[in-house]
Amino acid sequence: MPVLRSLFLMLLASVSAAVAQGAPDREHRVKAVFLFNFAQFVDWPDSVFADPDEPLVVGILGDDPFKAYLDEVVRGEKVNNRPIVVKRFRKVEEIKDCEVLFVSPSESPRLEGILSSLKQKHILTVGESEDFQRYGGMVNFATEGGKIRLKINLEQVQEAGLSVSSKLLRLADVSGARRE
């Protein structure tokens, strides 16, 4: 298809540009896409959004390992007609409106406090450190044999009032009993 092909070429050109700005490694490029994709498979309560057009915010707390790549990924994309906005937070207190939050490994020392403060806030927390889930993190990127595996603490997700698509759950290592 000539149209698809031209789109693909355009995409390729933009990626090249991003890499030229200071591209992240391949792992984080994938994780950036995954981060965006979580928005597709997780449902938030309607109360989260004040109005239908309110953007869905993907936040990064701490150092941003994705650099500008995440911005490229979400540019022009929409989830349930909501535009996607990438916000970068330095402190947990800054976080007000956020739906998906990547907790950078740079915050590991404060992880327990961060995660506990984010409870009840309907934010899908994503991390990539080994003990992320020990402190109440919901989704953790685990690398096994060069492959990124998703680990989901379903208990935490449910406690946060979020629901995760079963399709996503099927791929992931799910922990935490379901409370029903």
Partner: protein, 794 residues
């Protein structure tokens, strides 16, 4: 085998089965077409559903690049065994995962194409977008083989074959059962038709088959049979009648047979046949049917009644068959006559032959329109046959009559021929006998006359001899009479037959009165004589003799007595008829045919067989006809029919008495020396000078010599029949020398010689042998030359 050659049942079944098969094939074809179309659609739908489900399940694996998860999801496709291949392409269009997982990626399309499924290359294949929340994550490719279609259609094929087979079997069974509805009556009809044509039996009928078309057909067929049967019966009857009437040869019987048959077989109240007389414009009733006779009496139409032709009959006598269904309104004389006696319908059939209508057949009934078309046709045909038979009978009668006439005239000619031959023979015999007895007669007479000194006994003996000679002469004369033909003007005088009959009755008295009465037999004589009977021309003696012979025969036929009737009357054309009837034995056919032959006799020794022969001779000479009516036991009527007398000739004077003796020089010429000698001697005794010459030439020589020598003969007497020079030549020679010299011709042939004309030329007198002295003397006296007159007395 073409359909039309099959038997009806097979044909019907074939038609039904072909129809069923067509319906089945069309149904199956439609079914297949429908299934083919819908199954492809449903296959596409099914595949796209599966693809949609798999694609939906594949969102996460694509989103999170989980190849293992993708393989698992795709492996679920093995539940659909017809799916040959499937592949997931990621958002960038790269092949992400395949099914089966070890499939050759080269077989897959290098990049996803537009969504949708299509058939091609023996597969159904297509692409399904993988979308999560409007986010296109990749594409699913699915390829399904068409074995499902094949399998499906195999199943359908099997079902179709099975169902068609069952349906066909059912159709066969049903058609076999149902075709009987149609074929049954038709076959029954065909069987009947075959029975009719095989056995020629038109009395069979087809079984009734309801009220439908087949019922109508059967009805029509049966009606046809009834008609044919009727026609055949009529034909048979016509044949019988025709045969019966063709055996009849008289008209009345032909008509009676015809009418009888018609009355027996046709419903008619009155029937008759009339002859048609076209000139008089009349019908004459010829025959009336036996049953119709009382009605015919009432109608005044019994046999021989006459009916004038009126307008009602005109058409029929013109040759047209006429039928009047109701005659009451016609107002013709004839039809009113029938209508008055209650008759209503009438048929008139002309009897036609080549020459036209010769009669009509009238049939009538007392009901209006009572003579059916078939009956009328029958009447018409029968009239044709009857007319033909009647015509033939008529022709046959005429033929029979002509044949009878021919036979009679042939018989008469033959009889005449035979009698003529016999007559000539008798004449020859008579000649010889006359020659032979001439000397005996002349000498005996001469001796008796001249020798006065004979003893009494000798004289008696001589007289006996003389009588015997006379008897012989008489017999020979009768014989000659028979053969003698008519002698013109020979003593023909008007003869009163009534008078002759009276004389005969008187002359034969001894035979019918005296002799029989001595033996106690009574013969009654009855006379029925026409007093106004005209005379006939003839020789009285001969007529009398003929009648006498008839009398004597009649007496002989009544040895036990009886009645003899003598009858005279005028016949047609002024003929004079004399009849002699007896009540005697009669004659059978053989006798009747031969009775006129000389020497034919039924009286044995007593009869000469010359009596009727002589009567016949007399009748012939008088131009009369001799008719004989006789049958054994019924008596005999002999009838002589004389022709009308042409002229009344005055009765001749009696011949003059012999003159006084003369002395003459006489030359006797005869080749029989004995006759010459006796003539010479007897005439010498009378005082004549007699010379004899033996034979004609000698006679002429002697006469001429004597004449030269100055002593000529006064008279020449010559025999007629002599070798070389006969009596005629002698006479001629004598007359040539001296025309005044009388010539007497003496002949044993009697007068039969002269049948063709008068006296031979140059002859003055003709004498028969044996000559009697008296005749000789009279001839000589009449011819003696008178010295003064040279002519011959008339």
């Amino acid at each position: 085998m073409p359909l039309r050659n099959l038997r009806l049942q097979q044909r019907l079944m074939a038609i039904m089965l072909v129809t069923s098969a067509c319906v089945l094939v069309m149904t199956c074809a439609g079914f297949f077409a429908y299934e083919f179309l819908t199954f492809r659609q449903s296959m596409v739908r099914q595949l796209s559903t599966v693809a949609a489900i798999v694609a939906d399940n594949s969102t996460a694996v694509l989103a999170f690049e989980d190849r293992k998860g993708a393989e698992e999801i795709l492996s679920a496709l093995k539940a659909e065994r017809h799916i040959a291949e499937a592949g997931l392409y990621d958002g960038e269009g790269r092949l992400f995962s395949t099914y089966p997982k070890d499939a050759d990626p080269g077989e897959f399309p290098p990049a996803p194409a537009a969504e949708g499924f299509r058939f091609g290359g023996g597969y159904l294949q297509g692409f399904q977008a993988v979308v999560q929340n409007d986010k296109r994550l990749g594409t699913l490719y699915v390829k399904s083989d068409l074995k499902a279609v094949t399998a499906r259609f195999q199943l359908y094929g099997a079902v179709v074959v099975l169902v068609s087979g069952l349906a066909f079997l059912l159709a066969y069974l049903l058609s076999r059962a149902l075709q009987r509805q149609i074929s049954g009556p038709i076959l029954a009809l065909a069987d009947t038709a075959r029975a009719v044509s095989d056995r020629r039996d038109y009395s069979v009928r087809a079984r009734q088959a309801g009220t439908g078309e087949l019922g109508l057909l059967t009805d029509a067929f049966n009606q046809m049979l009834t008609q044919i049967q009727g026609q055949l019966t009529r034909m048979e009857l016509l044949n019988q009648i025709t045969r019966a009437i063709s055996e009849r040869l008289d008209l009345t019987s032909v008509f009676q047979v015809m009418l009888g048959a018609l009355e027996e077989n046709l419903a008619v109240d009155f029937i008759c046949v009339c002859r048609y007389d076209a000139d008089a414009r009349l019908l004459t009733v010829t025959s009336v049917g036996a049953k119709a006779a009382p009605l015919a009496e009432e109608l005044g139409m019994t046999a021989n009644a006459r009916i004038p032709i009126d307008d009602g009959l005109r058409q029929c006598v013109g040759g047209q068959f006429t039928y009047e269904p109701d005659i009451t309104n016609l107002r013709h004389t004839f039809t009113d006559r029938l209508a008055d006696k209650g008759l209503r319908s009438m048929a008139l059939s002309p009897l036609l032959v080549d020459s036209g209508v010769f009669g009509i057949l009238i049939a009538a009934r007392k009901v209006p329109d009572g003579i059916s078309r078939m009956d009328r046709e029958f009447l018409r045909q029968l009239s044709d046959h009857g007319a033909l038979a009647a015509h033939q009978a008529h022709l046959y009668g005429a033929l029979q009559q002509a044949y009878e006439d021919l036979r009679r005239s042939q018989q008469a000619v033959m009889e005449q021929e035979r009698l003529r031959a016999l007559g000539q023979m008798a004449s020859g015999i008579a000649h010889d006998i006359n020659n032979a007895i001439s000397p005996a007669a002349l000498y005996t007479e001469s001796i008796l006359e001249r020798e006065t000194n004979l003893s009494t006994q000798s004289r008696e003996h001589l007289q006996t001899i003389a009588h015997a000679i006379e008897d012989v002469a008489a017999t020979v004369a009768r014989m000659r009479e028979f053969s003698r033909q008519r002698e013109p003007n020979a003593n023909s005088v008007p003869v009163q037959v009534n008078k002759s009959i009276q004389q005969v009755i008187d002359l034969t008295r001894s035979r019918w009165h005296d002799t029989p009465q001595q033996r106690g037999i009574v013969i009654k004589i009855k006379t029925e004589l026409d007093p106004g009977l005209p005379p006939v021309m003839g020789v009285e003696g001969e007529i009398r003799e003929a009648l006498t012979n008839l009398f004597l025969n009649a007496f002989d036929s009544m040895p036990e007595g009886g009645t003899l009737t003598l009858r005279t009357r005028k016949g047609k054309d002024k003929d004079v008829i004399a009849e002699v009837s007896d009540t005697g034995a009669g004659m059978d056919e053989e006798t009747r045919r031969r009775c006129l032959e000389p020497f034919y006799t039924t009286k044995g020794e007593r009869g000469t067989g010359l009596g009727l022969a002589m009567v016949y001779g007399v009748a012939e000479r008088h131009g009369a006809e001799l008719q004989i009516d006789s049958a054994p036991g019924k008596g005999t009527t002999m009838r002589i029919v004389f022709p009308e007398a042409e002229e009344a000739i005055a009765e001749r004077q009696a011949p003059e008495a012999p003159a006084a003796p003369l002395r003459l020089r006489i030359l006797v010429v005869d080749d029989d020396p004995l006759v010459a000698k006796v003539l010479r001697e007897t005439m010498k005794m009378d005082g004549h000078e007699v010379a004899t010459a033996n034979g004609g030439q000698a006679g002429i020589d002697t006469y001429l010599t004597a004449r030269k020598s100055g002593a000529p003969f006064d008279l020449v007497m010559t025999d007629l029949g002599m070798p070389y020079v006969d009596g005629r030549k002698v006479a001629a020679a004598v007359k040539a020398a001296s025309s005044a010299t009388p010539v007497i011709l003496l002949t044993g042939w009697g007068q039969s010689l002269l049948e063709d004309g008068d006296m031979p030329p140059h002859v003055d007198k003709l004498l028969s042998k044996p000559p009697k002295m008296a005749d000789l003397r009279e001839a000589l006296a009449s011819l003696a030359p008178k010295k003064t007159a040279g002519g011959i007395p008339a």
